[in-house]
């Protein structure tokens, strides 16, 4: 199974992409889409050293995404108001370092997506062999608050999704 279908979610996503693109669920498209959904990951496999993400807790993922969506909208309003109404000099833009326990590359990727999608924060890079995240914050008022937020609101759920085993090992 794994040999022919490296990742079922990916294949489904590809099939969905195909059907969405063609806006059709005609048999021909289903067939062709399926062929592509199988073939494309297979052909791309040599270039995927980290393999594909295995989502252990889909529900946790959806919860996380929903929360993030709200956070994004909120941050968006904040950033907009800063841009429109505050003097640039008054904005306290800072780099901060967030210690990370998350190790899964896919988890880190998701984290980066969430952080970067949230206006006001930009992921710069992982430091100290991935134990620390360098972030840039648009308007920093309280560094510790940021660190805590990221640890609890983002890192924790992501670890739940991608590395529940290690998480349980740490917090029994």
């Amino acid at each position: 199974m794994k040999r022919w279908l490296p990742s079922l979610p990916l294949s489904f996503a590809l099939l969905a992409t195909w059907l969405l693109l063609n806006q059709s669920i005609a048999p021909a498209h289903l067939l062709l889409g399926s062929v592509l959904a199988v073939a494309a990951p297979l052909l791309a496999r040599p270039l995927q050293p980290h393999g594909h993400a295995r989502i252990r807790r889909p529900l946790a993922l959806f919860r996380l995404l929903w929360m993030s969506a709200i956070e994004i909208v909120r941050s968006c309003v904040n950033v907009s108001s800063i841009i429109l109404f505050r003097k640039a000099e008054g904005v306290n833009s800072q780099f901060i370092r967030v210690p990370l326990d998350l190790r899964s590359p896919h988890g880190l990727a998701l984290l980066s997506c969430l952080i970067n999608s949230t206006p006001g924060t930009v992921w710069v890079e992982l430091l100290s062999d991935g134990k620390e995240l360098l972030l840039h914050v648009f308007d920093l008022h309280d560094e510790q608050w940021w660190i805590d937020t990221i640890k609890t609101r983002y890192e924790q759920p992501i670890r739940e999704v991608f590395e529940p085993d290690t998480l349980q090992g740490e917090n029994p």
Partner: protein
């Protein structure tokens, strides 16, 4: 605008709202890009465009075409997906390149923004 004539209110109103919102956010993002002080601030401007601006307009498009074509038109989701996949990459790469550029040039103040914040750097540096 011939197709729009047949649009019912219940679709037109949210579509219009999302459009206006999307347009505004996009503009604000661009304003941020233009008027903020330095690069590290400016990079936060377009972020709103990419996430919320794009989202609003995509939703508007979905609403509009679904009503107009009388069938679910949701392929805009693809765009959202692709944007969500590529935007973080772009942001982190531009940011990192800027950081190291400034570090190499010895413009640490540009990074710290003249404040007391930590300078990012290589911990392994001897």
């Amino acid at each position: 605008m011939s197709f729009a004539a047949s649009l019912p209110w219940w679709a037109a109103l949210p579509a219009a709202t999302f459009l206006v919102l999307g347009g505004l956010i996009t503009l604000i993002g661009a304003i941020g890009l233009l008027r903020l002080k330095d690069f590290y601030q400016r990079i936060h401007g377009p972020a709103i465009t990419i996430t919320l601006g794009a989202g609003c307009i995509l939703i508007a498009s979905m609403i509009y075409f679904t009503t107009q074509q009388s069938r679910p038109v949701i392929h805009e989701l693809l765009i959202s997906a692709f944007v969500l996949m590529s935007a973080p990459v772009v942001a982190m790469l531009i940011m990192r390149s800027a950081v190291y550029r400034d570090l190499r040039a010895g413009r640490a103040s540009a990074i710290t923004g003249g404040s007391n914040s930590q300078v990012p750097g290589n911990d392994k540096q001897p």
